[in-house]
């Protein structure tokens, strides 16, 4: 019995140590690890609100879908990795998350532009609609003096109209407008009859590409305003991440010390269980792709403080049982079964709060509620299975264990 338990304990410690060592890499892997929120890696979170139509007509879900598709298209053309575009049909919103973007302001400009593309004559009359344009691509001009260009392709109908236009206004300028904003005002040098035109003299390829995106993605069916924007610079996000990791580590160390000083041997068990607890929670995050936000990390650190609660309740109960004359082993058994009811009742209430918060919260608050909720369940699970198992192993080593190791002073 005695030797067997010691071997089991040593094996368990080694097993957990190996699990921790093997977990670090996959969990923090930038690509496949626990996904980090925009506030931790920098980026823009945008909530675009569809404005009610001017004629009072309701915005249909179909229009929202179209708006989403167009925004998604523009986002993809920005070249952002893993963009997220979601629609909230009830509130008529499109939510866009762009991580690790270098110039968020420009991205916002491009995304929210209603962008009804029109071609206008020198007097400002609309002479051709944007829907006649089938494609617009950025490229490099054949002549180096041209700089970068946007190649335009028109539909067959548009080709005819464009032929007429370019014949009529030769030597003059045809304005290309997005909504009422002049995008480019190129001069017509010759009649264009094949439906293939280009606009030249862009300073950079990027500028040409931005215009091309706006021209080919067409107009949004509804006009959009920014209801919310959260923009965090990349290095600021990393700074937040480092700070919260530091806070977590120090919090953990002091909780470890506290448990050790107050509960001695069971304190060691509690600390050991805490490591297992942390591992379980992080793997759950990893498995369900829970996005870790700044408030989310705060929730996790808080849950570490709460997770030891189960241990404290049990140890206090065990102390009482032993003081009342029970043996250590019997004390642990009855302590566990009695404390279990207490713990369930106490944690259900916290869980209720976390779930309500998850349901009503938005954005990063949801992240907090989720980590807190996951933390509560994981701490219950760890305490019932792991902590109890280890404590049983320890008292099984010898029936004559010093009760002072358990912080019990039998003074009476």
């Amino acid at each position: 019995m005695r030797r067997g338990n010691i071997i089991k304990l040593v094996a368990l410690v080694l097993f957990v140590a190996v699990a921790v060592a093997l977990s670090i890499k996959p969990l923090v892997d930038p690509a496949k690890g626990i996904p980090l929120g925009l506030d931790l890696r920098g980026g823009v979170h945008l909530v675009l609100q569809a404005e009610p139509n001017k004629n009072g007509a309701l915005i249909t879900s179909d229009e929202m879908d179209k708006a989403k598709a167009i925004i998604a298209k523009r986002v993809n053309d920005l070249g952002v990795s893993e963009p997220i575009v979601q629609v909230d049909y009830d509130k008529k919103r499109v939510v866009v998350d762009l991580a690790g973007i270098t110039d968020p302001d420009k991205a916002v400009d491009i995304l929210k532009t209603t962008a009804k593309l029109t071609f206008r004559d020198p007097k400002g009359n609309i002479v051709l609609q944007g829907d006649e344009l089938t494609d617009a691509r950025a490229g490099q001009g054949q002549d180096p003096n041209q700089g970068f260009i946007v190649n335009l392709t028109f539909s067959s109908d548009g080709t005819k109209k464009f032929t007429d236009l370019t014949t009529k206004y030769i030597g003059q300028q045809i304005g290309i407008y997005l909504d009422d904003k002049l995008l480019k005002n190129p001069e017509v040098r010759m009649p264009i009859t094949n439906g293939q035109a280009y606009i030249d003299h862009y300073a950079t390829l990027e500028a040409a590409a931005n215009d091309a995106v706006l021209m080919r993605s067409g107009s949004l069916p509804v006009s959009m305003s920014i209801a919310e924007k959260r923009q965090v610079g990349a290095s600021l996000g990393i700074d937040f991440l480092h700070k919260s990791i530091k806070a977590g580590i120090y919090g953990l160390i002091f909780i470890f010390l506290f448990m050790l000083v107050f509960y001695r041997l069971p304190g060691v068990v509690a600390d050991f269980s805490l490591i297992v607890y942390g591992l379980i929670v992080l793997w759950i995050f990893w498995m369900f792709r829970v996005v870790l936000t700044l408030p989310g990390i705060a929730g996790f650190i808080l849950s570490i403080g709460m997770a030891v609660d189960f241990n404290i309740i049990i140890y206090e109960r065990v102390k009482e049982e032993v003081l009342a004359g029970k043996s250590l082993r019997a004390g642990i058994e009855s302590g566990f079964s009695r404390a279990f009811i207490t713990v369930i009742d106490a944690h259900v209430t916290t869980f209720i709060a976390a779930m309500t918060l998850y349901y009503f919260g938005t954005g990063s608050i949801k992240g907090f509620a989720l980590t807190l909720g996951v933390g509560i369940i994981a701490s219950l699970f760890t305490a019932i299975t792991f902590t109890r198992f280890v404590l049983r192993l320890i008292v099984g080593i010898s029936p004559k264990l010093e009760t002072t190791w358990f912080g019990v002073r039998r003074a009476i």
């Binding site: 107050f262 309740i313 209720i352 309500t356 919260g361």
Partner: protein, 309 residues
């Protein structure tokens, strides 16, 4: 080993070197709570809470200039683009926190360009911009109240189901006490609140009742063992002391976690951790000194229960 027996009231008193009768002195505790809550409530009515842009709507820009910047220069620049009454806060010489009304993208670009030319170059990688439309702010406030009411309802239901309705009422009163302490102090000192404050208040809601429930659980257990002629007050006092170690130690671990977030976690989680620190501390106090005492008070007035002084 002799046959064990559950600890008696005397034994419980002997174990705790700091023992004093908590239940008997209950009116002192109630008074102490009121002393903190009443000024808070008055302040709430007089000056309300200092609402951040998450509630009111607006734009908040945190930017770090490459060279030390002058607050007056920033304010002047903001005026030059037509932003009246903006608030600018400087920290560590280079970093400015600008709060203003909700700016659309064009206006923001205009401001940033003006700042760059008139005040100086800034670091793009440490730029933080928050824009909240007024409609979103109202939505947040509405949702916060909804969440609070639903959480109260669910908790009353759960505690009534697991204990008794009187326990639920006592627990909820202690809980409202904690929320009032936090909200009141934030109003008194006019600390600015953001959306994480809502999360903190709701978490305090869930967590502080946790402490109370552990004590109630012991009262429930001891109540079942009460003999004829036993004093309800003494039984409650015994229960409070039996769970004292646990109450204090659990709160200590949570406070350790919160202190490390407060001190090391950076600016963004300061409001959250401060609210939580106050709430958890108040929660521990109200669980030990208020909740069970309110229970005694209600039980005493409810029916001619055999309570002997």
């Amino acid at each position: 080993m002799e046959e064990g027996h559950p600890a008696t009231y005397d034994e419980v008193q002997k174990i705790h070197p700091l023992y004093f009768n908590i239940v008997k002195k209950r009116y002192w505790w109630f008074a102490l709570s009121l002393l903190i809550i009443v000024p808070g409530i008055i302040s709430l009515f007089m000056q309300g809470l200092n609402l951040g842009i998450d509630f009111k709507g607006g734009t908040m820009i945190e930017m770090t200039f490459k060279n030390p910047a002058n607050q007056a220069a920033i304010t002047d620049t903001m005026k030059s683009v037509g932003l009246l009454g903006p608030s600018v806060q400087m920290s560590s010489g280079n970093t400015a926190l600008i709060r203003t009304s909700a700016l659309d993208q064009d206006k923001q670009n205009e401001l940033m360009t003006a700042l760059q030319t008139k005040v100086g170059e800034y670091e793009k990688t440490t730029l933080k911009v928050d824009l909240v439309g007024p409609a979103m702010g109202q939505e947040l406030t509405r949702n916060a109240f909804k969440a609070l009411i639903i959480a109260i309802g669910l908790m009353i239901a759960y505690i009534s189901f697991r204990f008794q309705f009187v326990f639920a009422i006592s627990g909820i009163i202690a809980l409202l006490h904690d929320v009032l302490v936090v909200v009141g102090l934030f109003s008194l000192f006019q600390w600015q609140i953001d959306s994480t404050f809502v999360a903190a208040v709701l978490t305090i809601f869930g967590y502080s009742i946790n402490d109370t429930v552990v004590i109630f659980d012991r009262i429930r257990e001891n109540e079942a063992k009460m003999k004829r002629g036993d004093s309800y007050e003494d039984m409650v006092d015994k229960s409070v002391w039996q769970t004292m170690h646990r109450s204090v130690n659990t709160v200590t671990t949570v406070l350790i976690a919160l202190f490390s977030i407060f001190i090391l976690g950076g600016e963004s989680t300061k409001v959250f951790s401060l609210a939580m620190l106050i709430g958890v501390f108040s929660g521990a106090y109200s669980s030990i000194f208020n909740a069970s005492q309110i229970l005694v008070e209600i039980k005493k007035h409810m029916k001619p229960y055999p309570i002997y002084e």
